[in-house]
Symmetry: C2
Subunit: 221 residues, 2 copies
Protein backbone atom coordinates (compact mmCIF):
# COMPACT_ATOMS: atom_id res chain seq x y z
CA UNK A 1 0.00 0.00 0.00
CA UNK A 2 1.28 3.46 -0.83
CA UNK A 3 1.91 5.36 2.42
CA UNK A 4 1.14 8.68 0.74
CA UNK A 5 -2.36 7.63 -0.15
CA UNK A 6 -2.87 6.04 3.25
CA UNK A 7 -2.20 9.42 4.86
CA UNK A 8 -4.14 11.49 2.33
CA UNK A 9 -7.70 12.62 2.83
CA UNK A 10 -8.95 13.96 -0.45
CA UNK A 11 -11.99 15.69 1.06
CA UNK A 12 -9.69 17.90 3.13
CA UNK A 13 -8.28 20.30 0.55
CA UNK A 14 -7.27 23.47 2.35
CA UNK A 15 -9.00 26.64 1.26
CA UNK A 16 -7.37 30.03 0.96
CA UNK A 17 -9.22 30.97 4.17
CA UNK A 18 -7.63 28.11 6.07
CA UNK A 19 -4.29 29.04 4.55
CA UNK A 20 -4.42 32.66 5.67
CA UNK A 21 -5.51 31.48 9.13
CA UNK A 22 -2.49 29.16 9.45
CA UNK A 23 -0.04 30.33 12.12
CA UNK A 24 3.17 31.98 10.97
CA UNK A 25 6.23 29.79 10.87
CA UNK A 26 8.52 30.40 13.81
CA UNK A 27 11.81 28.64 14.58
CA UNK A 28 11.37 25.60 16.84
CA UNK A 29 7.62 25.47 16.33
CA UNK A 30 5.88 23.02 14.02
CA UNK A 31 3.25 24.95 12.10
CA UNK A 32 -0.22 23.93 11.05
CA UNK A 33 -2.74 21.19 11.66
CA UNK A 34 -0.82 18.04 12.71
CA UNK A 35 -3.01 15.74 10.58
CA UNK A 36 -2.54 17.85 7.44
CA UNK A 37 1.16 18.11 8.18
CA UNK A 38 1.50 14.35 8.54
CA UNK A 39 -0.45 13.77 5.32
CA UNK A 40 1.92 16.11 3.44
CA UNK A 41 5.02 14.45 4.93
CA UNK A 42 3.74 10.95 4.06
CA UNK A 43 3.00 12.06 0.50
CA UNK A 44 6.43 13.70 0.29
CA UNK A 45 8.26 10.57 1.47
CA UNK A 46 6.42 8.48 -1.13
CA UNK A 47 7.07 10.97 -3.92
CA UNK A 48 10.77 11.47 -3.13
CA UNK A 49 11.36 7.70 -2.82
CA UNK A 50 9.41 6.83 -5.99
CA UNK A 51 10.41 9.68 -8.29
CA UNK A 52 13.62 10.94 -6.67
CA UNK A 53 14.23 14.47 -5.44
CA UNK A 54 14.41 15.92 -8.95
CA UNK A 55 11.28 14.12 -10.20
CA UNK A 56 9.03 14.98 -7.25
CA UNK A 57 7.10 18.26 -7.28
CA UNK A 58 5.38 20.25 -4.55
CA UNK A 59 2.29 20.34 -6.77
CA UNK A 60 2.19 16.52 -7.05
CA UNK A 61 2.84 16.03 -3.34
CA UNK A 62 0.06 18.49 -2.48
CA UNK A 63 -2.34 16.63 -4.78
CA UNK A 64 -1.43 13.29 -3.19
CA UNK A 65 -2.00 14.75 0.28
CA UNK A 66 -5.25 16.43 -0.78
CA UNK A 67 -4.13 19.97 0.06
CA UNK A 68 -3.38 23.15 -1.85
CA UNK A 69 0.24 23.53 -3.04
CA UNK A 70 0.34 26.97 -1.43
CA UNK A 71 -0.31 25.33 1.92
CA UNK A 72 2.69 23.03 1.43
CA UNK A 73 4.90 26.03 0.65
CA UNK A 74 3.43 27.86 3.62
CA UNK A 75 4.06 24.99 6.05
CA UNK A 76 7.43 23.79 4.81
CA UNK A 77 8.99 26.44 2.59
CA UNK A 78 11.04 25.15 -0.36
CA UNK A 79 11.20 21.64 -1.86
CA UNK A 80 14.60 21.25 -0.15
CA UNK A 81 13.06 22.07 3.22
CA UNK A 82 10.10 19.76 2.65
CA UNK A 83 12.51 16.96 1.75
CA UNK A 84 14.60 17.51 4.90
CA UNK A 85 11.43 17.48 7.03
CA UNK A 86 10.16 14.33 5.27
CA UNK A 87 13.32 12.33 6.03
CA UNK A 88 13.70 13.91 9.49
CA UNK A 89 17.22 15.00 8.55
CA UNK A 90 19.22 15.82 11.67
CA UNK A 91 20.82 18.83 9.98
CA UNK A 92 20.33 21.05 6.95
CA UNK A 93 23.40 20.75 4.74
CA UNK A 94 22.61 24.18 3.27
CA UNK A 95 23.40 25.68 6.69
CA UNK A 96 26.59 23.67 7.18
CA UNK A 97 28.16 23.45 3.74
CA UNK A 98 29.22 27.09 3.25
CA UNK A 99 32.24 26.58 5.52
CA UNK A 100 33.26 23.56 3.41
CA UNK A 101 32.75 25.39 0.16
CA UNK A 102 34.80 28.34 1.41
CA UNK A 103 37.86 26.06 1.51
CA UNK A 104 40.12 26.34 -1.51
CA UNK A 105 39.80 23.73 -4.28
CA UNK A 106 42.81 21.81 -2.94
CA UNK A 107 41.42 21.76 0.60
CA UNK A 108 37.94 20.57 -0.32
CA UNK A 109 38.57 16.89 0.55
CA UNK A 110 39.85 17.69 4.05
CA UNK A 111 37.02 20.20 4.59
CA UNK A 112 34.35 17.63 3.69
CA UNK A 113 35.79 15.05 6.11
CA UNK A 114 36.10 17.70 8.83
CA UNK A 115 32.42 18.67 8.45
CA UNK A 116 31.26 15.04 8.47
CA UNK A 117 33.11 14.43 11.74
CA UNK A 118 31.82 17.67 13.28
CA UNK A 119 28.24 16.63 12.57
CA UNK A 120 28.65 13.00 13.65
CA UNK A 121 30.78 13.66 16.72
CA UNK A 122 28.14 16.15 17.89
CA UNK A 123 24.55 15.92 19.15
CA UNK A 124 23.22 14.93 15.71
CA UNK A 125 24.73 11.46 15.87
CA UNK A 126 21.69 9.59 17.29
CA UNK A 127 19.40 10.97 14.57
CA UNK A 128 22.03 10.21 11.92
CA UNK A 129 22.42 6.64 13.18
CA UNK A 130 18.64 6.19 13.16
CA UNK A 131 18.56 7.32 9.53
CA UNK A 132 21.37 4.94 8.50
CA UNK A 133 19.78 2.02 10.38
CA UNK A 134 16.47 2.67 8.71
CA UNK A 135 18.09 2.99 5.27
CA UNK A 136 19.91 -0.32 5.59
CA UNK A 137 16.80 -2.20 6.65
CA UNK A 138 14.33 -0.61 4.25
CA UNK A 139 14.68 -0.05 0.51
CA UNK A 140 12.38 2.93 0.62
CA UNK A 141 14.44 4.75 3.24
CA UNK A 142 17.60 3.76 1.38
CA UNK A 143 16.31 5.67 -1.65
CA UNK A 144 15.55 8.69 0.52
CA UNK A 145 18.99 8.65 2.16
CA UNK A 146 20.62 8.34 -1.27
CA UNK A 147 18.60 11.32 -2.54
CA UNK A 148 19.65 13.27 0.54
CA UNK A 149 23.34 12.51 0.07
CA UNK A 150 23.33 13.15 -3.67
CA UNK A 151 21.07 16.21 -3.95
CA UNK A 152 21.64 17.97 -0.64
CA UNK A 153 25.30 17.27 0.05
CA UNK A 154 27.41 15.96 -2.84
CA UNK A 155 25.83 17.98 -5.63
CA UNK A 156 26.58 21.17 -3.70
CA UNK A 157 30.18 20.15 -3.02
CA UNK A 158 31.03 19.12 -6.59
CA UNK A 159 29.16 22.13 -8.00
CA UNK A 160 32.13 24.21 -6.87
CA UNK A 161 34.35 22.29 -9.32
CA UNK A 162 34.12 23.47 -12.90
CA UNK A 163 33.62 20.06 -14.50
CA UNK A 164 30.95 18.43 -16.74
CA UNK A 165 27.80 17.01 -15.13
CA UNK A 166 28.65 13.31 -15.75
CA UNK A 167 32.03 13.76 -14.11
CA UNK A 168 30.48 15.59 -11.16
CA UNK A 169 28.11 12.66 -10.61
CA UNK A 170 30.90 10.05 -10.69
CA UNK A 171 33.16 12.07 -8.37
CA UNK A 172 30.28 12.75 -5.98
CA UNK A 173 29.40 9.04 -5.80
CA UNK A 174 33.02 8.10 -5.05
CA UNK A 175 33.14 10.71 -2.29
CA UNK A 176 29.87 9.24 -0.97
CA UNK A 177 31.46 5.78 -0.78
CA UNK A 178 34.24 7.08 1.47
CA UNK A 179 31.99 9.25 3.65
CA UNK A 180 29.45 6.48 4.28
CA UNK A 181 32.39 4.19 4.99
CA UNK A 182 33.66 6.54 7.72
CA UNK A 183 30.21 6.60 9.32
CA UNK A 184 29.98 2.80 9.23
CA UNK A 185 33.54 2.10 10.43
CA UNK A 186 33.71 4.78 13.14
CA UNK A 187 30.16 5.00 14.47
CA UNK A 188 28.35 1.76 13.59
CA UNK A 189 30.96 -1.03 13.60
CA UNK A 190 33.41 0.95 15.79
CA UNK A 191 36.55 -0.38 14.11
CA UNK A 192 39.65 0.71 16.03
CA UNK A 193 41.65 2.91 15.83
CA UNK A 194 39.09 4.80 13.69
CA UNK A 195 36.44 4.73 16.43
CA UNK A 196 38.59 6.58 18.97
CA UNK A 197 40.94 8.54 16.67
CA UNK A 198 40.92 12.35 16.83
CA UNK A 199 39.13 14.27 14.08
CA UNK A 200 42.49 15.86 13.23
CA UNK A 201 44.08 12.50 12.52
CA UNK A 202 41.10 11.32 10.49
CA UNK A 203 41.11 14.49 8.39
CA UNK A 204 44.84 14.05 7.67
CA UNK A 205 44.47 10.33 6.90
CA UNK A 206 41.25 10.41 4.84
CA UNK A 207 41.14 13.96 3.44
CA UNK A 208 43.68 13.29 0.64
CA UNK A 209 41.67 10.26 -0.53
CA UNK A 210 38.48 12.33 -0.76
CA UNK A 211 40.52 15.03 -2.52
CA UNK A 212 41.62 12.52 -5.18
CA UNK A 213 37.98 11.63 -5.84
CA UNK A 214 37.16 15.33 -6.20
CA UNK A 215 40.05 16.63 -8.27
CA UNK A 216 42.45 13.76 -9.07
CA UNK A 217 42.90 11.97 -12.40
CA UNK A 218 39.90 9.70 -12.97
CA UNK A 219 38.34 8.20 -16.07
CA UNK A 220 34.58 8.35 -16.41
CA UNK A 221 32.69 5.06 -16.03
CA UNK B 1 19.72 -12.77 28.85
CA UNK B 2 22.94 -14.23 27.54
CA UNK B 3 22.17 -16.22 24.39
CA UNK B 4 25.05 -18.59 25.08
CA UNK B 5 23.60 -19.67 28.38
CA UNK B 6 20.11 -19.84 26.92
CA UNK B 7 21.34 -22.44 24.44
CA UNK B 8 23.53 -24.37 26.86
CA UNK B 9 22.44 -27.50 28.61
CA UNK B 10 25.01 -28.28 31.27
CA UNK B 11 23.81 -31.84 31.85
CA UNK B 12 24.63 -32.66 28.25
CA UNK B 13 28.42 -32.82 28.30
CA UNK B 14 29.51 -35.10 25.47
CA UNK B 15 31.48 -38.17 26.43
CA UNK B 16 34.36 -39.64 24.47
CA UNK B 17 31.94 -42.40 23.40
CA UNK B 18 29.56 -39.86 21.89
CA UNK B 19 32.49 -38.12 20.30
CA UNK B 20 33.78 -41.25 18.58
CA UNK B 21 30.23 -42.03 17.47
CA UNK B 22 29.84 -38.60 15.85
CA UNK B 23 29.70 -38.80 12.05
CA UNK B 24 32.78 -37.75 10.10
CA UNK B 25 32.75 -34.26 8.71
CA UNK B 26 31.97 -34.24 5.01
CA UNK B 27 31.77 -31.21 2.72
CA UNK B 28 28.24 -29.85 2.35
CA UNK B 29 26.93 -31.82 5.33
CA UNK B 30 26.32 -30.31 8.77
CA UNK B 31 27.80 -32.70 11.29
CA UNK B 32 26.53 -33.74 14.68
CA UNK B 33 23.43 -33.44 16.82
CA UNK B 34 21.57 -30.25 15.72
CA UNK B 35 20.80 -29.23 19.32
CA UNK B 36 24.42 -29.56 20.43
CA UNK B 37 25.55 -27.76 17.29
CA UNK B 38 23.16 -24.88 17.93
CA UNK B 39 24.26 -24.66 21.57
CA UNK B 40 27.91 -24.41 20.48
CA UNK B 41 27.11 -21.77 17.85
CA UNK B 42 25.09 -19.68 20.33
CA UNK B 43 27.92 -19.90 22.88
CA UNK B 44 30.42 -18.98 20.14
CA UNK B 45 28.43 -15.90 19.02
CA UNK B 46 28.23 -14.68 22.62
CA UNK B 47 31.93 -15.28 23.28
CA UNK B 48 33.15 -13.66 20.05
CA UNK B 49 30.90 -10.61 20.57
CA UNK B 50 31.78 -10.19 24.24
CA UNK B 51 35.49 -11.01 24.22
CA UNK B 52 36.40 -10.48 20.57
CA UNK B 53 37.91 -13.09 18.28
CA UNK B 54 41.30 -13.00 20.04
CA UNK B 55 39.85 -13.19 23.56
CA UNK B 56 37.44 -16.05 22.92
CA UNK B 57 38.66 -19.65 23.29
CA UNK B 58 37.31 -22.98 22.10
CA UNK B 59 37.67 -24.24 25.67
CA UNK B 60 35.53 -21.38 27.07
CA UNK B 61 32.92 -21.75 24.32
CA UNK B 62 32.71 -25.50 24.95
CA UNK B 63 32.23 -24.89 28.69
CA UNK B 64 29.46 -22.32 28.00
CA UNK B 65 27.73 -24.81 25.68
CA UNK B 66 28.20 -27.68 28.12
CA UNK B 67 30.20 -29.87 25.75
CA UNK B 68 33.73 -31.20 25.53
CA UNK B 69 36.23 -28.93 23.68
CA UNK B 70 37.23 -31.91 21.52
CA UNK B 71 33.64 -32.10 20.28
CA UNK B 72 33.79 -28.45 19.20
CA UNK B 73 37.00 -29.10 17.28
CA UNK B 74 35.47 -32.23 15.80
CA UNK B 75 32.29 -30.44 14.66
CA UNK B 76 33.77 -27.15 13.48
CA UNK B 77 37.52 -27.51 13.06
CA UNK B 78 39.61 -24.45 13.94
CA UNK B 79 38.59 -21.31 15.86
CA UNK B 80 38.52 -19.48 12.51
CA UNK B 81 36.07 -22.02 11.12
CA UNK B 82 33.89 -21.93 14.24
CA UNK B 83 33.79 -18.14 13.99
CA UNK B 84 32.74 -18.22 10.32
CA UNK B 85 30.01 -20.76 11.13
CA UNK B 86 28.83 -18.67 14.09
CA UNK B 87 28.34 -15.51 12.02
CA UNK B 88 27.05 -17.49 9.00
CA UNK B 89 29.75 -15.88 6.85
CA UNK B 90 28.86 -16.21 3.18
CA UNK B 91 32.49 -16.96 2.27
CA UNK B 92 35.72 -17.99 3.93
CA UNK B 93 38.31 -15.24 3.36
CA UNK B 94 41.09 -17.80 3.83
CA UNK B 95 39.94 -19.46 0.59
CA UNK B 96 39.62 -16.19 -1.35
CA UNK B 97 42.50 -14.06 -0.11
CA UNK B 98 45.46 -15.95 -1.61
CA UNK B 99 44.78 -14.42 -5.03
CA UNK B 100 44.81 -10.94 -3.44
CA UNK B 101 47.98 -11.63 -1.51
CA UNK B 102 49.70 -12.94 -4.64
CA UNK B 103 49.47 -9.43 -6.11
CA UNK B 104 52.62 -7.36 -5.77
CA UNK B 105 52.83 -4.81 -2.96
CA UNK B 106 51.94 -1.98 -5.35
CA UNK B 107 48.89 -3.84 -6.69
CA UNK B 108 47.43 -4.79 -3.32
CA UNK B 109 44.86 -1.96 -3.23
CA UNK B 110 43.43 -2.82 -6.65
CA UNK B 111 43.45 -6.55 -5.82
CA UNK B 112 41.47 -5.99 -2.60
CA UNK B 113 38.81 -3.94 -4.42
CA UNK B 114 38.65 -6.53 -7.21
CA UNK B 115 38.04 -9.36 -4.72
CA UNK B 116 35.38 -7.39 -2.84
CA UNK B 117 33.48 -6.78 -6.09
CA UNK B 118 33.87 -10.42 -7.17
CA UNK B 119 32.32 -11.61 -3.91
CA UNK B 120 29.53 -9.01 -3.82
CA UNK B 121 28.65 -9.12 -7.52
CA UNK B 122 28.30 -12.92 -7.21
CA UNK B 123 25.88 -15.28 -5.47
CA UNK B 124 27.12 -14.33 -1.99
CA UNK B 125 25.50 -10.90 -2.10
CA UNK B 126 22.19 -11.78 -0.37
CA UNK B 127 24.01 -13.37 2.58
CA UNK B 128 26.41 -10.43 2.74
CA UNK B 129 23.56 -7.94 2.72
CA UNK B 130 21.80 -9.88 5.47
CA UNK B 131 24.96 -9.69 7.59
CA UNK B 132 25.34 -5.92 7.03
CA UNK B 133 21.65 -5.28 7.76
CA UNK B 134 21.88 -7.26 10.95
CA UNK B 135 25.10 -5.49 11.99
CA UNK B 136 23.60 -2.05 11.51
CA UNK B 137 20.50 -2.84 13.56
CA UNK B 138 22.14 -4.79 16.34
CA UNK B 139 25.21 -3.86 18.40
CA UNK B 140 26.03 -7.50 19.03
CA UNK B 141 26.13 -8.39 15.34
CA UNK B 142 28.06 -5.18 14.67
CA UNK B 143 30.81 -6.47 16.97
CA UNK B 144 30.83 -9.81 15.16
CA UNK B 145 31.03 -8.19 11.72
CA UNK B 146 33.86 -5.95 12.95
CA UNK B 147 35.75 -8.98 14.28
CA UNK B 148 35.21 -10.73 10.94
CA UNK B 149 36.53 -7.79 8.94
CA UNK B 150 39.51 -7.14 11.19
CA UNK B 151 40.65 -10.67 12.04
CA UNK B 152 39.64 -12.63 8.95
CA UNK B 153 40.20 -10.10 6.16
CA UNK B 154 42.23 -7.00 6.99
CA UNK B 155 44.74 -8.61 9.29
CA UNK B 156 45.65 -11.07 6.55
CA UNK B 157 45.99 -8.36 3.94
CA UNK B 158 48.17 -6.02 6.02
CA UNK B 159 50.24 -8.94 7.34
CA UNK B 160 51.89 -9.00 3.89
CA UNK B 161 53.29 -5.52 4.56
CA UNK B 162 56.38 -5.45 6.74
CA UNK B 163 55.24 -2.77 9.16
CA UNK B 164 54.74 -2.50 12.95
CA UNK B 165 51.51 -3.84 14.49
CA UNK B 166 50.04 -0.42 15.42
CA UNK B 167 50.52 0.79 11.88
CA UNK B 168 48.96 -2.37 10.46
CA UNK B 169 45.89 -1.81 12.62
CA UNK B 170 45.47 1.82 11.51
CA UNK B 171 45.98 1.00 7.82
CA UNK B 172 43.60 -1.94 8.03
CA UNK B 173 40.89 0.20 9.63
CA UNK B 174 41.22 2.86 6.93
CA UNK B 175 40.93 0.18 4.25
CA UNK B 176 37.84 -1.11 6.07
CA UNK B 177 36.26 2.34 5.89
CA UNK B 178 36.57 2.39 2.10
CA UNK B 179 35.49 -1.22 1.56
CA UNK B 180 32.38 -0.89 3.75
CA UNK B 181 31.66 2.35 1.93
CA UNK B 182 31.70 0.57 -1.45
CA UNK B 183 29.27 -2.04 -0.14
CA UNK B 184 26.94 0.64 1.22
CA UNK B 185 27.09 2.96 -1.81
CA UNK B 186 26.91 0.27 -4.53
CA UNK B 187 24.72 -2.44 -3.01
CA UNK B 188 22.66 -0.87 -0.21
CA UNK B 189 21.99 2.76 -1.18
CA UNK B 190 22.64 2.12 -4.90
CA UNK B 191 24.25 5.50 -5.57
CA UNK B 192 24.80 6.01 -9.31
CA UNK B 193 27.05 5.65 -11.22
CA UNK B 194 28.65 3.34 -8.60
CA UNK B 195 25.69 0.97 -8.56
CA UNK B 196 25.89 0.14 -12.27
CA UNK B 197 29.59 0.82 -12.95
CA UNK B 198 31.78 -2.06 -14.20
CA UNK B 199 34.14 -3.72 -11.72
CA UNK B 200 37.02 -2.61 -13.97
CA UNK B 201 36.11 1.05 -13.59
CA UNK B 202 35.62 0.71 -9.85
CA UNK B 203 38.98 -0.99 -9.42
CA UNK B 204 40.69 1.81 -11.40
CA UNK B 205 38.83 4.54 -9.52
CA UNK B 206 39.04 3.17 -5.96
CA UNK B 207 42.11 0.90 -6.02
CA UNK B 208 44.65 3.76 -5.75
CA UNK B 209 42.82 5.13 -2.69
CA UNK B 210 42.98 1.75 -0.95
CA UNK B 211 46.64 1.51 -2.00
CA UNK B 212 47.39 4.83 -0.27
CA UNK B 213 45.87 3.49 2.95
CA UNK B 214 48.03 0.37 2.65
CA UNK B 215 51.39 1.78 1.64
CA UNK B 216 51.16 5.59 1.36
CA UNK B 217 52.55 8.17 3.76
CA UNK B 218 50.38 8.20 6.90
CA UNK B 219 50.99 9.32 10.46
CA UNK B 220 49.85 7.02 13.24
CA UNK B 221 46.85 8.19 15.29
Amino acid sequence: MCPARAGARRGDVATEDQLSAAPNRRPGRRPGNPDTRDAVLAAARAAFAERGFDGATIRGIAADAGVDPALVHHYFGSKDQLFLAAIEAPANPADLLPEVLAAGRDELGAAVVRLLLKVWDGPMRPAGLALVRSAVGNEWTAKLLREFLVTQVLRRVVATLEIPAAEREARGALVASQLIGIVMARYVLRVEPLASASPQWLVAAIGPNVQRYLTGDLELP
